[in-house]
């Protein structure tokens, strides 16, 4: 597997970066740690002739507990006890990404915008050619849900659900200027596995911001995967809550590894906030979320198993947080 030739650009500021992006039009990709993009390029998946490397872009570097630059390496967060203490869900999610080697290069920005995954997509050129290419790269049909003209590739980043339940917002730069939006809105709930985020052409993810409340909630992240030492999430379940006596005063649950985007279950969790919280209520919550998710058959574990585990994980995570102990 070889990389096709490309031209590498290395801007040093956000302004320079977005200008370059505008000039290059659609024929480029941003390159952060490259741990996701380059393996895909080697499989000739949506290869572009230009790469804009982000490693020299000043504004993207470094982090504080309130603002995490997009180019922050996962290994740095993983090694920082402050992160684990302030934001357990984030610490656990970061620690669960791949291996130390991948975390040393992989970045926060790259993780939030990681390519969606599918059994029929993450394959060699020979493999895909012999099956017939699919919608997501070079083809015109979907092998997972052939009846539909939509891609169901699964969002498989670990950090997004954790940051969602912590109420993160993201800072985005565009040629027209910067904007801030809730992390949820970075992803399209009605979108598909091809257009996996809602960044406009040339838009750049600059940083993730965490609100002060994020430090006050209890949070956790549970990851379902074949090998505890490795592997993308087959389900990544994040939860955060605050408890006030027997009363649940806030609750957020989000999951990755199930659908085309990391999904926050606001409409379900809302109904549980405010009242007293009991084990029965936890079971109801788990059942409601389990019923809501729609995994498809394009990852290692079959959909019925992932769906069922969603209920188990919600119950485990929320119960542990409610009782004030770690879930993992």
């Amino acid at each position: 597997m070889h990389l096709d030739p490309f031209e590498l650009h290395r801007p040093e500021s956000v302004e320079e970066t977005v200008r370059l992006a505008r000039d290059l039009g659609p024929g480029f990709d941003y390159l952060a740690g490259g741990t996701d993009l380059l393996p895909n390029y080697k499989m000739h998946l949506n290869v572009r002739p230009h790469l804009i490397a982000l490693d020299q872009v000043r504004e993207l570097q470094g982090y504080t507990p309130e603002r995490i630059g997009a180019m922050t390496r996962l290994a740095n967060l993983d090694a920082d006890p402050e992160i684990a203490r302030w934001y357990p869900a984030l610490g656990e999610a970061v620690h669960g990404v791949a291996t130390p080697l991948v975390r040393a290069s992989g970045t926060v920005g790259g993780n939030l915008l990681v390519e969606t995954r599918c059994f029929f997509f993450n394959q060699s050129f020979f493999w895909r050619a012999s099956l017939g290419f699919c919608l997501k790269a070079d083809g015109d049909r979907c092998h997972v849900v052939p009846q539909k003209e939509k891609c169901y590739a699964t969002f498989s980043g670990d950090l997004a659900p954790a940051l969602q339940v912590l109420g993160a917002t993201v800072e985005v730069a565009a040629p027209e200027g910067n904007r801030r939006l809730p992390l949820d809105e970075l992803y399209a709930a009605d979108g598909d596995g091809i257009q996996r985020h809602r960044l406009g052409p040339g838009e750049l993810l600059v940083a993730v911001h965490l609100p002060p409340e994020a430090r006050r909630v209890r949070s956790t992240y549970l990851k379902l995967r074949p090998r505890p030492s490795f592997d993308f999430p087959e389900l990544g379940l994040a939860a955060a809550l605050t408890r006030d006596g027997d009363r649940l005063s806030s609750l957020e649950v989000a999951a990755g590894g199930l659908e085309t985007y990391p999904r926050r279950f606001r409409s379900i969790t809302e109904g549980f906030v405010g009242g007293t919280f009991t084990d029965d209520r936890i079971r109801e919550l788990a059942a409601a979320i389990q019923a809501a998710v729609r995994p498809v058959h394009n990852t290692a574990y079959p959909p019925d198993y992932r769906k069922r585990m969603t209920g188990v994980f919600v119950r485990r995570a929320v119960r542990a947080l409610w009782e004030g102990r770690g879930a993992s």
Binding site: S124, S130, L131, P228, Y305, R308
Partner: protein, 731 residues
């Protein structure tokens, strides 16, 4: 003990197949079949020939035009002449100045093919369990049927009949180094350098594929970056050599890891039915039925069935039995040997079955096994006498450890036991040339070190033991098939066991010759100030003074050690169809696993592990320990997560190391290894081959631990969380 290859390997100083280079070398790439079963209607090679950098393109026609006639009649020609039998089968090959050019040109060859019916799985061939008549089906490429005693009567009068069906999956060797070779052809002479476990076997194989004499071909092994059985028969070499003929240049061919998976030659799935009749707490009758997927292999694969059934009968006394197995041809790549071929899968079924039976009878699983296991002097199913066998001792040792574990077993945990047996292979025998020189001993032989140390270290240790000479003064040299004496290969746990005996015999004849020369009955050797001394009682002679003028001129005293193994026999009258195989020796392995089962998710965590390995004599205890640990880790992969997944169209869905899941070090529990000595095997000093035995019982031990923890049995391996969850009725 420090291995002589440790430092050079750590420094990157040894050359593997991937490192091969030659002046003027071209790079090759394969054109691979786009369908699993079909015929090539048309394949234009012209456009690829005209692409930049391309020097040669060869396909089926070039077998005819470039090779001797015999190449067309080979059992498996370089390229398929009629049918494509598996997806990705090489159907043409390209050589170009660069690897990229070769791969681009290969991708530009687009054959027009006519698809034929695909049998992706055993069930596609036999939706129902086949009757004996199936032996005539063209897709049955091996059939073994044997029986002994009045099985029906024993089943009729049994207290209990235990019947189960097991399914096993395809597992890959995953040697770290993918296959790679470099072929040269000049004036009718062929030379191939390649990463191989069997240089001489490969020479024979290649000679028949290319239609040439063995004497026209030299095979030179490189250092092998792991073999596990996958680097035996011809693989990439025929393509590289045909391209070398076409291009008149050296041609290097290596594959990507995806191709490594897709070209297969490994363990394929099986379906196993076991029925066991028990009376008075003892096994009195066995029925064993097997359907073994052998992929696109050719007829004549009885041995695959025969070996499997040997493991399915197991190391248990069997008064009466009937066995029948079929090797089934499917449109997967042909099966190939994989560390302890056929054993871990068969033993998973058998040992799960025996364990379940013991539990049904309310007998402790170890106790139940102790009632039936072979002891020295028992007879095997085919009436071969059982030799020294450490399985009973292993079971007793395991019982003590299991007892200790059980005293503090947390809720949700279970302990599983499983045993396995193996027999050191002799292969087709082997030879080594020992040259005792004034400054030390050189052992010249034809095997490359494949990683476990049995060649560069093991053979030296054997000579050290016989001669008394220190390891530092012994060198194991490698020669290609033109310069080294014959040996069968590094497989079947035979390196130390069989080639080691050739070395042992050579060393003993050195002792005999030198004892005679110094007029003593016993001698040993020493090295002092760089000089080999022959020590006889209080007398010391410099070796150099004992050599004849010819020997001195030739650099030393040279002897050939040869070992071609004793013939063993089975009672063939019990075998009604096909053939079965005698054992050289009897090597036992008993494993214990403690497993924690997550009863809501089906996830397993192997908490700790113990292996009791019958080794005969531990010639080098630390090396044996390493083999046992490595075997356990590899077995854990097959038990928990390693599985080749084929779609109904016979497409391998996970040809890569992200989705084909090997255990990582962090997934491996602490492993306690206990060596059981004193039951002599076929090797030097009573050693038994232990490269393969330690992988055998692992999947069964894990499955039995799950049954112990949950009361639920999983009938399919690997025991993925999903399968465990289904068994626990979570889904």
């Amino acid at each position: 003990m420090t291995r002589s290859d440790a430092a050079p390997k750590a420094r990157g100083g040894v050359g593997y197949g991937m490192d091969l280079e030659a002046p003027g070398m071209l790079w090759a790439a394969l054109v691979r079949a786009p369908v699993p079963h079909g015929r090539i209607v048309r394949m234009e090679l012209g456009p690829a020939r005209r692409m930049p950098g391309v020097v040669a393109v060869v396909g089926p026609d070039e077998i005819r035009t470039l090779l001797p006639k015999g190449a067309l009649e080979a059992e498996r020609p370089v390229f398929p002449l009629d049918e494509i039998r598996y997806r990705g089968e090489p159907i043409a090959a390209v050589a170009a100045e660069t690897l990229e050019q070769a791969r681009h040109a290969a991708a530009a060859v687009v054959p027009v093919v006519e698809s034929l019916r695909t049998d992706a799985r055993i069930e596609d061939v036999f939706p129902e369990w086949p009757s004996a008549a199936a032996a005539k089906d063209p897709r049955v490429v091996g059939h073994v049927h044997a029986r002994h005693g009045d099985v029906e009567a024993r089943f009729r009068s049994a207290d209990l009949v235990h019947s189960e069906t097991y399914h096993t999956s395809g597992v890959h060797q995953v040697a770290l180094e993918p296959h790679a070779c470099l072929g040269e052809a000049r004036g009718g002479k062929f030379r191939v350098r390649t990463s191989t476990q069997t240089p001489f076997g490969l020479r024979e194989d290649l000679a028949s594929i290319l239609g040439i004499f063995e004497s026209s071909l030299v095979v030179e092994g490189t250092w092998v970056g792991g073999g596990f059985g996958g680097k035996g028969a011809a693989f990439l070499e025929p393509y590289a050599l045909l391209l070398a003929v076409a291009s008149r240049r050296p041609v290097k061919l290596s594959v990507t890891y995806a191709e490594e998976f897709e070209l297969g030659r490994t363990t394929l799935p099986s379906i196993i039915r076991l029925d066991t009749a028990v009376r008075g707490g003892k096994i009195v009758g066995r029925r064993v039925r097997l359907l073994l997927d052998t992929g696109a292999s050719l007829p004549g694969r009885d041995f695959a069935v025969g070996y499997s059934i040997g493991f399915l009968l197991g190391p248990y006394r069997t008064e009466t039995y009937e066995i029948e197995g079929f090797a089934v041809q499917t449109n997967k790549p042909p099966f190939g040997p994989h560390r302890a071929p056929f054993a871990p899968q068969s033993v998973f079924a058998l040992e799960s079955h025996i364990d379940g039976l013991a539990r049904r009878l309310g007998v402790d699983p170890i106790e139940f096994r102790l009632r039936q296991v072979w002891r020295e002097g028992d007879r095997t199913a085919y009436d071969q006498p059982v030799g020294p066998f450490g399985l009973e001792a292993g079971l007793k040792a395991a019982a003590r450890t299991a007892g200790a574990w059980r005293t503090r077993l947390p809720a949700g945990h279970g302990i599983g036991v499983a045993c396995g047996f193996w027999s050191t292979s002799v292969g087709a025998g082997g030879e080594a040339r020992l040259s005792l020189r004034p400054d030390g001993l050189v052992i010249l032989q034809g095997e490359r070190e494949i990683g476990n140390g049995s060649v560069v270290h093991g053979l030296a240790v054997v000579a050290e033991r016989v001669l008394g000479l220190s390891l530092a003064a012994i060198r194991v040299d490698y020669g290609d098939t033109a310069t080294a004496p014959f040996d069968s290969g590094v497989f079947g746990s035979r390196t130390l066991g069989a080639l080691g005996q050739a070395v042992e015999r050579g060393a003993r004849s050195l002792v005999t010759i030198l004892a005679k020369r110094v007029g003593a009955s016993e001698i040993h050797l020493e090295i002092k100030s760089g000089q080999v001394l022959v020590v006889a009682g209080r007398r010391r002679h410099k070796l150099v003074d004992l050599l004849t003028p010819t020997e001195r001129a030739e650099g030393g005293l040279v002897v050939e050690g040869k070992f071609y193994g004793p013939e063993r026999e089975v009672d063939a009258s019990r075998v009604l169809a096909g053939s079965v195989y005698p054992y050289q020796d009897f090597t036992g392995a008993v494993h214990l696993a403690e497993v924690e089962v997550d009863r809501e998710t089906g996830h397993l965590r192997v908490v700790r592990y113990a292996a009791f390995q019958d080794v005969g004599t531990a010639v080098d205890p630390s090396a044996v320990q390493g083999q046992v640990e490595g075997g356990v880790v590899m077995g854990l992969g097959a038990a928990l997560s390693e599985e080749m997944l084929w779609t109904p169209e016979a497409r391998l869905a996970n040809p890569g190391l992200l989705d084909y899941r090997l255990p990582r070090l962090r997934d491996v529990p602490p492993i306690h290894v206990e060596l059981i000595e004193g039951f002599a095997g076929a090797g030097p000093f009573g050693a038994k081959g232990v490269g393969e035995p330690p992988i055998i019982p692992v999947p069964a031990a894990v499955a039995n631990a799950v049954a112990d923890a949950t009361g639920t049995r999983v009938f399919e391996m690997p025991l993925t969380p999903e399968r465990v969850a289904r068994a626990l009725k979570l889904l």
